[in-house]
C-alpha cells in the first residue's frame, strides 16, 4: 500500500535534515530525519518525501544468490 522508490543520496544539506537523492537521473529533495545514519552514496527507499530506510547492498546480493540457489534449480 505504500509506493516507495529507491534512490541514491548525492548531497546532504547542512543540518542533516534534508538530502538530495538521485535515481536514473531524476533528482529530488527528501527528508532525512528517519534515517539519521544515512550518508552520501547510500541507497535509500523514499516514501512520501522522506527516506525511510537504507538499502543493504550486501543483503541484496546475498538474497539474490540464495534465491538462485534455492529457486532456480529446475533449470
Amino acid at each position: 500500500m505504500c509506493l516507495a522508490a529507491p534512490a541514491q543520496i548525492v548531497r546532504i544539506e547542512e543540518g542533516g535534515w534534508l538530502a538530495e537523492v538521485e535515481s536514473f537521473g531524476n533528482r529530488r529533495s527528501v527528508g532525512l530525519t528517519l534515517v539519521p545514519e544515512a550518508k552520501v552514496g547510500d541507497y535509500v527507499i523514499v516514501h512520501a518525501g522522506f527516506a525511510v530506510e537504507i538499502i543493504d547492498e550486501e543483503a541484496a546480493k546475498i538474497s539474490l544468490a540464495t534465491w538462485e540457489e534455492l529457486l532456480c534449480s529446475t533449470k
Binding site: S23, F24, N26
Partner: protein, 341 residues
C-alpha cells in the same frame, strides 16, 4: 509595447488589441492572408481532399524542458493532420490570454509557434485573441485548427487510414520512447515537482510520416499520435474500432530509464503518459521491416520499435508481461494523479 502585462483591454477589440496584433502577432506570423487582417483568410483552391482538425492546449507550465505551449499547439495539430495521411498546410491560432500574463512570455510562445510552423512547413493563416479576467484562465490557452490536403499520390485506392484495413498479423510500431512528454510535465507540477533529465518529445511529425509513407506506399494501415491517455488508451480505441485484439510485448516497449523511474516515483504508468512527438503505426506484416527502417532512418524515429501485433479477438488490448502473463489494457480511467500509496 508600453504595457508589460496583458490587460483586459488587450482583448476588447480596440486600440490595445490592434497594437498587440500589429506589434506582436504579425511580427512573427507573416503569412500575407493573415497580414491582411480580414475576417477570413482567402487561400488558393487545394489540390485534393481536405483534412481538418482542431485541438486546444491548456498545458501547465507554459514552458517546459523540450518546448512550450506554442511548440505543442503547432506540433499537436500538425501531427493530427499528418497521422491522417494529409500534408499539413494551414493553421489557425486562437489565443485566450489571462489578464496579467507577461507580454514577454506571450512573445516567447508566439516565437515558438512561428518556428515550429516553419519546421513543419505550415502557415498560420488566421488568428484571434481574447483576454479573460485574472483567475479565469491560466496564463495562456491556445487553440489551433489545422487544414491539410490529402495529396492524390497518398490517397490511392484502398489507402484509407481509418483502421478498416487492419488485419490479423499486422505489426504495431511506435516511433520512439513512451511517456517523455507526460513525465516532463508531471515533474514540473507544483506540489510534486522534481528535477528530471527527461524532456518533452514534442515535435511536428510531418516529415517523419512523409518518409514512412514514401517507403511503404499503401502499406501503412493506420496511424495515430498517442497523446492524452498515452499508448494504452490509443491502442484500446483502435482495438475497439476494429474489433480485433492487439497484443503488446511489455519487453519491446521503448521506455527511458528516467521515465520509468519518474513514473514509479509518481505512481504512474508510462503506457498512460502523454506523448507529443510519437506516432503509433500499424502496417502489414510484410511491410514491418521497411516501416521500421524508414522510421529509424529519420532523426525523430531513431528509437522506433515494433511493440506488438494484431490478432483475432474482440477489441481487447493485451500486454504480455516478461514473466509470460497477460494483462488487459483499458483506457486511462480517471485523472492521472500522482500517488504515494
Amino acid at each position: 509595447m508600453k504595457q508589460e502585462q496583458v490587460l483586459l483591454a488587450h482583448g476588447d477589440g480596440g486600440q490595445l488589441t490592434h497594437q498587440l496584433v500589429q506589434e506582436l502577432f504579425l511580427r512573427y506570423f507573416n503569412f500575407p492572408a493573415l497580414q491582411a487582417l480580414t475576417d477570413a483568410a482567402l487561400l488558393p483552391p487545394p489540390a485534393g481532399r481536405l483534412a481538418v482538425t482542431t485541438d486546444s492546449f491548456v498545458v501547465q507550465p507554459l514552458f517546459f524542458p523540450g518546448g512550450d505551449i506554442g511548440t505543442l499547439a503547432v506540433a499537436g495539430t500538425v501531427n493530427d493532420l499528418a497521422v491522417s495521411g494529409a500534408k499539413p498546410m494551414y493553421l489557425t491560432a486562437g489565443f485566450i490570454l489571462e489578464e496579467g500574463l507577461l507580454l514577454v512570455d506571450l512573445e516567447r510562445v508566439v516565437a515558438s509557434m512561428a518556428e515550429t510552423a516553419r519546421d513543419a512547413g505550415v502557415a498560420i493563416v488566421a488568428g484571434d485573441t481574447k483576454v479573460v479576467e485574472r483567475g479565469r484562465g491560466d496564463g495562456l490557452y491556445i487553440n489551433t485548427a489545422g487544414i491539410g490536403v490529402v495529396l492524390p499520390d497518398l490517397d490511392g485506392e484502398g489507402a484509407s487510414l481509418d483502421g478498416s484495413r487492419i488485419g490479423e498479423g499486422d505489426a504495431v510500431l511506435i516511433s520512439g520512447t513512451l511517456g517523455d512528454h507526460g513525465l516532463t510535465i508531471m515533474a514540473q507540477r507544483a506540489g510534486i515537482a522534481f528535477d528530471t533529465p527527461v524532456q518533452s518529445d514534442c515535435a511536428p511529425l510531418s516529415s517523419l510520416i512523409a518518409a514512412l509513407q514514401e517507403n511503404c506506399l499503401g502499406q501503412v494501415k493506420w496511424m495515430r499520435d498517442p497523446t492524452r491517455g498515452g499508448v494504452a488508451t490509443t491502442l484500446k480505441e483502435i482495438a475497439e474500432v476494429t474489433a480485433k485484439d492487439i497484443v503488446i510485448d511489455e519487453q519491446a516497449l521503448p521506455v527511458r530509464d528516467a521515465v520509468a523511474d519518474g513514473a514509479a516515483i509518481l505512481g504512474l504508468d508510462p503506457l498512460y503518459l502523454a506523448n507529443e512527438g510519437k506516432v503509433l503505426v500499424i502496417v502489414a506484416p510484410e511491410a514491418r521491416d521497411a516501416a521500421l527502417a524508414a522510421l529509424q532512418a529519420h532523426p525523430l524515429g531513431r528509437e522506433a520499435a515494433c511493440i506488438g501485433h494484431v490478432s483475432g479477438g474482440s477489441g481487447q488490448v493485451y500486454l504480455k508481461t516478461p514473466l509470460g502473463g497477460h494483462r488487459i489494457l483499458n483506457r486511462l480511467m480517471g485523472e492521472s494523479l500522482p500517488r504515494i500509496c
